[in-house]
Assembly symmetry: C2
């Protein structure tokens, strides 16, 4: 068997990129030929992390079947979030921390998922189990992934294991967890230089609910002023995406990383289901999401319920 490409989901976040790099390293260490690649451009937060630990960002690919026969998925499994030609290759391994949805294989494979804060935390356990040392730079990326996915260990997805692992990784990476963590999160909140399209889609994921197409984007910020100043332009861009991509719902969530609080902008003909899901009323396509920070744990499950109960 030849080289494997390892990649996270489209619109990669820090966990998708870091877990790909860490997993490729892990595979090389157990004797496989592997290369980390990315399904899109890195965001500012990820750029900060890769720059800080002096690691090159994975090269970006839009297809994989022209290069390899076998691939390894990290930080996702839903085909709708993966490379477009996924059905042309064999997925031989998955490491993830999301629900399993629409993922079917013809053959047995390695699948390792745990309901914890980040894929990088699962990978840390795999390194431990095989007694493989984690180099400083890769530890730094894995730590960045945990900080990013758990908003510096404050998200409801964060477990005791994530906290312990983050502390271990901070030692290996030789950084102060809190200081580095705040720097990293702040690096991801600069939206002034971004277009509405970049803000909306930088971290957007598609989901299928009750056979309808849903998009949920999320951006980290400090305070909501910048988002509210650009609300009309953001909504106009969202309406365009709804029409173009036949979305039943586009929910864009802005999360205050210091305050652990969110607001949402909503478009699509099923916008009312957001009201039902979050038990909040929609005012001028805007909804309060008090205490909500996790798409995986606090947004997708109630939305799924609202769509399937409809």
């Amino acid at each position: 068997m030849g080289k494997k490409l390892v990649f996270g989901h489209k619109n990669p976040d820090t966990d998708a990129l870091s877990a790909a790099v860490a997993m490729a390293y892990y595979l090389e260490r157990i004797g496989e030929e592997a290369e980390a690649v990315a399904l899109g451009k890195a965001n500012d937060e990820s750029k900060f992390a890769f720059d800080y630990f002096k690691v090159s960002l994975p090269r970006i690919v839009s297809s994989v079947a022209d290069e390899v026969e076998e691939v390894v998925l990290v930080d996702h499994n839903e085909p709708i979030q993966s490379v477009d030609d996924l059905d042309q290759v064999t997925v031989i391994q998955v490491v993830d921390h999301h629900r399993i949805f629409g993922f079917n294989t013809g053959q047995p494979l390695y699948y390792r998922a745990e309901p914890i804060g980040s894929t990088s935390s699962v990978l840390y356990k795999m390194f431990q189990e095989k007694d493989i040392d984690i180099p400083q730079a890769i530890a730094g990326l894995m730590l960045s992934a945990i900080i990013s996915d758990t908003l510096l260990l404050k998200s409801p997805t964060c477990t005791k294991e994530d906290i312990d692992i983050a502390n271990e990784l901070a030692k290996i990476a030789e950084v102060n967890l809190n200081e580095y963590g705040l720097e990293l999160l702040k690096a991801g909140t600069n939206i002034a230089s971004q277009s509405e399209d970049q803000i909306l889609n930088g971290d957007a994921k598609n989901f299928e609910m009750d056979d309808q197409k849903i998009r949920v984007g999320q951006v980290n910020i400090i305070g909501f002023d910048e988002i509210l100043d650009r609300k009309a332009a953001l909504l106009a861009e969202m309406e365009k995406a709804v029409a173009q991509d036949d979305l039943s719902l586009f929910l864009f969530v802005a999360t205050d990383v210091l305050d652990s609080n969110s607001i949402g902008l909503v478009a699509g003909n099923k916008a009312s289901l957001a009201e039902k899901a979050f038990k909040q009323s929609l005012k001028e396509q805007q909804i309060d999401l008090p205490g909500v920070v996790s798409r995986k744990k606090q947004i997708i499950p109630p939305l799924t319920e609202a769509f399937t109960e409809e």
Copy 2:
């Protein structure tokens, strides 16, 4: 969170039953409340193993939602092979060694699968990773599961890891691997006292291929005489099942455990796809399957290909 029920697939084999018992023990050891149950009667081989190691067979259930909210699946994930009311409970953990198919969740979960010889081998690694001692009787059941699934380490699904694990488990269980293994396999080959329905369905699994319903049964025997003597009666029973359950194909495989060789009986209007899948011609609804012993590795993949390419 209350008690979890742990179970393998319908028509349980030795791995489905042993892995459920071993997983329930593992969960109890890490502080969870868990009980192993079974989705059907044990076959003669499994009865031999449980009797040999003096372990009670798990009680049989036909539904779970009346008892618990959360379940743990071992040795399967396809809902079509699982308990009928699976959609009424939450699957919080899966340990398996099969392909993933039709398995969707709303929430993140523990999922541990590896492409190795038995679920019990995966469990052995989980015990090791958490430094949990395996009691003699449970080691004996896990060993029996590996022997059963790999036909005493001879199936193409058997890996170096399975062989090493089987040897370790034989030491803990205090049995001679080869002697005990042959005894166990022979215990499963006694079909004289079984009805045609019992022979056909004792180990049958349903699959969906290209939206059609397929059933593949398998029986272990020594020599093919007993099967060929009862061929007409077996085929009559198969035709009945095809009509009753709307099957496109019913393939019944008899595997000589000493000779690692199989023959198949075939019914259903897509019988010709078995010819295509195995590149053998069908004579009076019978097909040679030289060297075939593994449903997972040598039967399901070519059948799936034949159905999807059709």
